[in-house]
């Protein structure tokens, strides 16, 4: 592997507007029920009694932050590992792709991927997922999610360069622990970010269709 493309996401600046997810849905012309990119709102904390007026409940460590997630084009792609048809491959630039002509639609990759990236298209009969806008990248353009980001907190590039610039954090709730699949992802954590597997909050965003 000569190169590994990856996404960089600055959670400290994301407003959760979902422009990235909508741009992706539009460009990939996705049907109801399938979204290659999703924005998750993660919320936690509790309410406690006001010391001066114990009958009154006030917010206690309440927090919420957003994370934008699509296929992580993992360095250890578990989807590719389990696919019986060898329909999933990893290109030299690290992009993980599904070959629709080979896929048997067994949905085994869906069971395995902890980022919910491969999604079954009922109409077409095979698995689909983010392809890193490979056609646009070939023309020298950016993936649509990156260009759509109002806050400019979603970027992409060579993973090593992204890590050199932004660090190596990727195990942030509600994402799974990065050791499972080595996602090509770098996150600048939100100030309330919790570590994967040790979170005290939960996803509150309603599942979009």
């Amino acid at each position: 592997m000569t190169k590994q493309l990856g996404f960089y996401f600055d959670a400290s600046g994301c407003t959760g507007c979902k422009a990235c997810a909508i741009a992706c849905k539009d460009r990939s012309d996705l049907p109801v029920g399938i979204n290659f990119r999703k924005v998750y709102q993660y919320e936690g904390g509790s309410w406690g009694p006001d010391p001066r007026n114990p009958d009154l409940m006030i917010p206690n460590n309440l927090f919420v932050y957003s994370l934008s997630a699509a296929c992580m084009h993992c360095e250890k792609p578990i989807c590719m590992e389990v696919c019986p048809a060898s329909a999933i491959s990893k290109r030299d630039d690290g992009v993980v792709l599904i070959d629709k002509d080979v896929c048997i639609g067994c949905r085994y990759c869906e069971w395995a991927c902890p980022y919910a990236a491969p999604q079954f298209n009922e109409e077409k009969g095979y698995m689909t997922k983010c392809d890193f806008c490979q056609d646009l990248q070939a023309k020298g353009e950016n993936p649509v999610c990156v260009d759509a980001c109002v806050m400019r907190v979603l970027q992409y590039g060579d993973l090593d360069e992204l890590r050199a610039a932004h660090g190596t954090a990727a195990s942030i709730e509600p994402l799974p622990d990065a050791s499972l699949t080595s996602p090509a992802l770098v996150i600048t954590p939100h100030k309330h970010a919790q570590v994967s597997g040790k979170g005290t909050g939960h996803i509150i965003s309603v599942e979009e269709s």
């Binding site: 578990i78 048809a85 048997i104 639609g105 902890p114 079954f120 799974p176 597997g197």
Partner: protein
């Protein structure tokens, strides 16, 4: 539950039953070979041998229902290097091919008895590996409720329990009243019944250990456990009761020698099979509804 999950439930249960039955048949054959002439052994086991192919055939048909792109079905094989699903498919097909060869040779008495027995054992061994592969398919590191030793152990228990009982049922259906009075016939049935009790014990032992283990494996495993003791607790308990009764009635009656009660013996064997089958299906439903993947 959708069609896809029912397809998987059918495939795993029947695939395990067929492999288990094959193994039980070979073990019984080895036992009988020490006590009786080859012709007598063949007379007792050749009929029941015919159940293996249709059961495995049905399993494979069901497995096709869970694919969504049948035109690519031959593609289920290439990733033998890393996908347990590929390995499972290859083993399942190998098993059924070997079972057809063995059944045919045994039926037509082609080749010597020793050669046939060797082929029979190879078939049974492929069946065992197939059950192991089925377990490995579910041991995905992102699925904490599945990624435990309990998965393959439970699959083996299901295989031997249902396989053994299927052989018992086949023996009851295919033999005359006179044959059922033979001491050897009784001994085989009692052996299967004893095996069932031991397997029941293992099943009842594994469950609490498994549940305790889930409680220690992080929040996602805990969520699975909460499903088991919450919304699906009724199914869980009912399943244990059904299997307990199934194995219980079989054993109490078969452990006694009841000359002249062949009809009762048959009825009890059939009911035991039905109860254990229902119990195992309930167990497999639980298996598919309580798993939760880590992450998003």
């Amino acid at each position: 539950m959708n069609i896809r999950e029912w397809a998987l439930i059918t495939f795993t249960i029947l695939g395990q039953m067929a492999s288990g039955a094959m193994l039980v048949l070979m073990v019984v054959r080895a036992y009988l070979a020490m006590k009786a002439k080859t012709e007598e052994v063949d007379k007792m086991l050749d009929g029941p041998l015919f159940i293996v192919i249709p059961i495995m055939g049905l399993a494979l048909l069901a497995s096709l229902l869970h694919l969504n792109n049948l035109s690519n079905v031959v593609n289920a094989v290439p990733n033998l290097g890393s996908s347990w699903l590929s390995r499972e498919v290859v083993l399942a097909v190998t098993f059924v091919v070997l079972a057809v060869i063995y059944t045919f040779l045994q039926w037509r008495k082609i080749g010597g008895n020793t050669l046939r027995t060797v082929i029979g054992w190879i078939t049974a061994l492929v069946g065992v590996i197939q059950i192991y592969a089925m377990g490995m398919v579910y041991m995905i590191r992102t699925q904490p409720a599945w990624n435990t030793l309990a998965t393959p152990i439970n699959f083996f228990v299901t295989a031997l329990l249902l396989g053994g009982l299927a052989v018992a049922v086949a023996m009851m259906i295919m033999h005359s009243e006179a044959e059922k009075q033979l001491p050897l016939f009784r001994q085989v049935l009692q052996g299967i019944a004893l095996g069932a009790v031991i397997l029941l014990g293992i099943e009842f032992l594994i469950l609490p250990i498994y549940m305790a283990y889930l409680a220690t494996q992080g929040p996602v495993a805990l969520e699975s456990l909460m499903l088991m003791v919450g919304p699906y607790f009724g199914t869980l308990v009912l399943r244990l009761i059904v299997i307990f009764i199934g194995v219980g009635i079989l054993v109490t009656y078969l452990s006694r020698n009841l000359p002249g009660r062949e009809k009762a013996m048959a009825t009890l064997t059939y009911s035991a099979f039905v109860l254990v089958f229902v119990g195992e299906v309930m167990g497999r439903i639980l298996f598919y509804v309580t798993h939760i993947r880590v992450g998003l």
